[in-house]
Symmetry: C2
Subunit: 406 residues, 2 copies
Amino acid sequence: MALIVQKFGGTSVANPERIKNVASRVQEYRSRGDQVVVVVSAMSGVTDNLLKLAREIMPIPSDRELDMLLATGEQTTIALTAMALHTLGLGAVSLTGAQAGIVTDGVHTKAKIRNITPRQVHDLLDAGNVVIVAGFQGQTTDGHITTLGRGGSDLTAIAMASALHADLCQIYTDVDGVYTADPRIVANARKLDEISYDEMLELAGSGAKVMQSRSVEFAKKFGVIFEVRSSLNNNPGTLVKEETQSMEDVVIRGVSLDKNQAKVTLVAVPDKPGVAARIFKALADAAVNVDMIVQNVSHDSDSRATDLSFTMDKPDLPKATRVIDSLKPEIGFASAISDEDIAKLSIVGVGMRSHSGVAAKMFETLSSNDVNIEMISTSEIKISVVISLGKCETAMKAVHSAFLET
Amino acid sequence: MALIVQKFGGTSVANPERIKNVASRVQEYRSRGDQVVVVVSAMSGVTDNLLKLAREIMPIPSDRELDMLLATGEQTTIALTAMALHTLGLGAVSLTGAQAGIVTDGVHTKAKIRNITPRQVHDLLDAGNVVIVAGFQGQTTDGHITTLGRGGSDLTAIAMASALHADLCQIYTDVDGVYTADPRIVANARKLDEISYDEMLELAGSGAKVMQSRSVEFAKKFGVIFEVRSSLNNNPGTLVKEETQSMEDVVIRGVSLDKNQAKVTLVAVPDKPGVAARIFKALADAAVNVDMIVQNVSHDSDSRATDLSFTMDKPDLPKATRVIDSLKPEIGFASAISDEDIAKLSIVGVGMRSHSGVAAKMFETLSSNDVNIEMISTSEIKISVVISLGKCETAMKAVHSAFLET
């Protein structure tokens, strides 16, 4: 008998039929004697409909009232999920985030969990119930309803697993787990049995869409082992956990590709203190989320000037170019070149710490496939390159083949 | 400066446009310095959609989970209403029933309000906010979400007005107030400036659809004066309050008609103790809501047997006849005659206590209009007759003319 937290996202509970499927899965675990806490998101589409209603009243609604509004989405799902479990003859009780004891700070629409007092959850479990908790939401110590922002339901599940000292936390999604690469692009991609928190974080930050970084960070901080698996079948998924010795034997865990990036290069930026700070402060103030930053030697090697390139999410490019244009008189660079036809290709693995020549092998693979590298950025367990969008899938296949198909 | 509770039902908040209209009305009162608490229902149609979802999962869902589900309807409206007030530049904060301090018993789907601790409402009002409270809902002392059943939002408004010692409670609806008769039938019907709780109760119980009896009973018990008025215009409505001396000068306050009744007559029921008890116990067990009961002299005056007639809501007739048929062997009446083509016509007024001849005048009016009376039932301030459905509107007009068009 184990205590298991299971999280189901919006597509897994999109309609009554799917909610019944969720209930059947919970029943499997219950019938072997496990205690189960289910965390659910709003039915897919519901949150968007609520936002549409709100915007018909006010273009930018108050964050507190937006939370009050959006919290109804998950509250609807928990009630329906409890009913679906009842039809199977199981005891089941739904709880809102507040009722489940999830206390957050007061930053509406992106609140942080402060603590969880799962007394009522424990009591209900001990009385033989499945407990269904509304994901994505909590309340402040003053009793205001809050929501946790993007990826909030994953966070609820992992935080709840931590507070309950659960034996396992399962994140159900529409893929079988974490893959060595996106299987829609790389036919030979393999599902991973396990991956370390850090590798998962680097993948999340480089285009792999499995989970938001903050949930993984939370799991790492509190040592919550979780499994990413499919709600469509019974295949075992990928365990995400602390790095083990044996993980280092594998040089590269996975390859990820982010096609949603754009690049700006400032040519001949005067090479004097404070210039970079001025530029990136202005971009941050405009809420442009800058990813990679690389400072190159200037094309014009005579003057005391350098080239400066950075990437951001593609939709942020117009905002970024406006900011850059407005800075031109003050900073005095020669020109700004923006490029949307790029992609970021990354390889991730804790093993690269103890294996030399990883970068060389990656660059060589790209070169022998005629892929030009425009920018390079490295961390301890990740190497990212910016390449042309047109060649990015060829590049990804080649790199996957070189490192992961031995 | 007054403290006013304003309640808006589902049709008044049916879409963003109407919610904005509600906000404009609230603004009128705020701008003259009043403190305003707004109680809202779910947007019309929302509750039905939620029930439909629930029934796709389970024909008869658990009451607790149904409350969890339905409570989202009002929660959606309060958030949107707060936003609409923000667009007008007003401070506004929404509260769920639980947050507003509404504590109920644990009878899910038809909970009774036990007490209200409106500390937070007071605090928010004192800070200059309009407070928007979700109608129809509360929570138990254990923190379970409950709903109050039919007419629950009216009850929330009246109970909140009582707890806050509000100066006035306004129930906004789609009619201008309480009329001497349904204006769709009686062209000369007049809106009443005031009516006593007891008269309002008798009208509610005899087909006038303005409000549920329980809200009026609550208002009477706690002496909450409320005004029924239209959300579509600025006309003053009808004040519902404790009976005053001057109210007795008016013999009849209003005439009401209930076309939704059916009648069953048991012919030649043995006239022995316990028979009526047996019959009405069986009907109650089958959840048939019996209204009028009249025991007549038997058609067959030789035997020790009587005729027994009772009325109920039309949709309950099949259930009632099943119950009656099953009792026939045990009780041994001669036959059962059911009749759907009836209506109940009532006249209501505290003045009839001190004016004699009211019944006689009513019967005479009916007789001179060729309307046969099938059953008669009287209370201290009401006389109801069952007549044929085909003649009921003629009868209503005649009675209204005789008593109310002088």
